[in-house]
Symmetry: C2
Subunit: 195 residues, 2 copies
Amino acid sequence: MPPNASRRSERSRRAILDSALDLVGEVGYARTSIEGIAARAGVGKQTIYRWWPSKGAVLLDALLALSEGEEGEVEDLPDTGDLEADLKLVMRATVAELTDPRYDAPMRALATEILHDPALRAQWSERLDGPLRRLKEERLRSAQAAGELPGELDIALAIDLIWGPVFHRWLQSEAPLTAEFADQVVASAMHGLRG
Amino acid sequence: MPPNASRRSERSRRAILDSALDLVGEVGYARTSIEGIAARAGVGKQTIYRWWPSKGAVLLDALLALSEGEEGEVEDLPDTGDLEADLKLVMRATVAELTDPRYDAPMRALATEILHDPALRAQWSERLDGPLRRLKEERLRSAQAAGELPGELDIALAIDLIWGPVFHRWLQSEAPLTAEFADQVVASAMHGLRG
């Protein structure tokens, strides 16, 4: 593609992703349509259908764009040698995201859409959940190597124990999702895992 | 209502609830319609609309009917004086439900539908989640009173720590949901909470 066309195309892509997030935040996922996203982004709806198979797929890319760094990569989890302190930082950031309206509505929509759309679930696993899970596994293995966690610990179990409570409160509870809650979950999960 | 009409009406209600569960299990929630449920139950769709505002509401009643005892009440959690053993029983039963096809698809559908439908969420809170949460709170308070858990423990936090990991694995993970996993979650959560 000549440089100008490529720049234009990247501009359209960004406008589509931003419009998708805006609309889901404003009117909800159910009332967000490809037509609406196209109108707001100032592109034809064929442009969207050329790049994405469904509005769920647009949303997945929009969320990936939000969480990616400048180079388009998911960042490593911090590893200062103190697992509990590092996980508290990570969990506070997660709680901040889950309570930020820009993320909350789209992530809720995606969490439910993947239960009904196997193709989208495969994309979500491959591009968002899988890479995140590998970062978590890596950080927990490093803690095992450093003697902070038992060597025989089941890492998949540890991930459910550490991240499950925050996810549970986010989707299932009316109780507030706060930084203090994040700290308590990490402290309690770590205490349980060390035993 | 004369006795015969009342019996007929109860028979229709049961047929509708069974048909809703069957259809969601067979073709998925998205492709289940009020028309489809009515046809399978042998009633007119107006009968369904007279009793329920949406297919999500039918499904909620169907799940409530599944989990109710003979007298239509949710059962207490066991209280033998050994919290860890009691919770392992409860969690194994939960895992058995979540992996039973008759429950899995409808509960998945409901878990996601309440995120988009505030009226249904209110019903779900009032009739399913609220009563269950109160039973959990009651059992944990009884353990506090018996000295099995610290008196100052935040009960809402404890519920997220105990039930969150199973919910997380059910909705977010490909890893198997087994009785052994249920035991490990309870043991680890209890260890974390006692500290």
